[in-house]
Amino acid sequence: MPCLRCIPRMALALYLLLATPHLLAHAQPEGSLPAHGSTVDGSPDRIAVWFDHPMRLTLFEVIGPQGVVPLNPSPGRDALTRFETRPATPLGPGNYTVRWRGLASDGHVMVDEIHFTVR
């Protein structure tokens, strides 16, 4: 029975795993404004995304029927849990995509897309 001697090691490994409630603590997006998949009446005055842990945003762009939408402000490189910006000019009717990329504090690269429609 070659595995009998490894039982204590396996038990230790399992104990260590079970005793780790924050094992899966990646930063994750918690929500956005406008919400993903939503339709809004008229141009939204704010575009925002927020996270459960600090994130350093490196890219945040809104792409619509006319291409990339100018934003004010653009994201800095500071760690934040909420980023909020405004379109420099009102958004016309159409489908829009918010693309962001960022670096979580645990070193993971995060990326997401949010889609919304302006009516």
Binding site: L103, D106, V109
Partner: protein, 310 residues
Amino acid sequence: MTPQPPPLQPLLELLAQTDGWVWLRVLAAAAFYASALIAVGGVWFGLVFGGNPALDRATGLRTLVPAAAGLALVLLLLQWPLQAGFLGGGTWAAAFDPSLLALVFDGAAGRRILFAASGLLLLLGAWGVSGRWPGLAAAASLLGAVLVLLSFTQVGHSTGAPRLLLASLLLLHLGALAFWVGALLPLYRISGPSQLSESAARALLRFGRLASAAVAALIAAGLWLAWRLLEGWSPLLHSAYGQVLLLKLAALLLLLGLAALNRWHLVPAFAANAPRARQRLRASILTEIVLVALILLLTAFLTTTTSPTG
């Protein structure tokens, strides 16, 4: 009740979204995992099975470990601009943007680079002085291998609390994995020359016993981790992360089957000098190497392109 997407749709969508830049990051990560594990595992192998000059020469570890460490160092440094480039939108201009490079370095990823680079340089340095100062070379190799493993604890899940427990667990996991992965090439080499059959058989039998413990711990930890990551078994079938993980598990099952075949049939036949046992065992080890490469590629794809929560 939320309707479930058709089978494989999440995986196909993920593949459709994976651009060339991401594939570069995946390939660089997989190659780094492989070369770093071969370098560290080579050190373990030398420590456990070293001492027989003929066998030591046959393993080729004196060139394999520094070659793997050198390749891992190049890939580690390549991952840095690749990550910066992705963060900046997937362009070469972003890859060499000093502010993005500094951003990546100023944090967990930077600590990982420092630990891994120090460890790999120590492995290379140990190779350089091994002829003149073998004792110093052995100590530097051991320290280098530990630093490379520690580098993996600087990023990702193991950076959460309780830090010490998580880092210890990950070290145990990676140390066992390196032992297994790093032993495959030396075992393949020593099983070749017929004049080494007796000492090679002893090493193979001993490796089988030691690997059983490592594999059992890896399976237990892996299954529990998958369940925790996915918060149940349903996402295993219905999320992109789960579907890639299933592919990885399928490859792992095949690998375990081969390992069991070696342990209980092919190695005893090799030790007994049975007809064609040498060829069968070497073919089986080669297949194991291919499966390990596939598993590392899937792991790199999993960690680079998706997360358990989508």
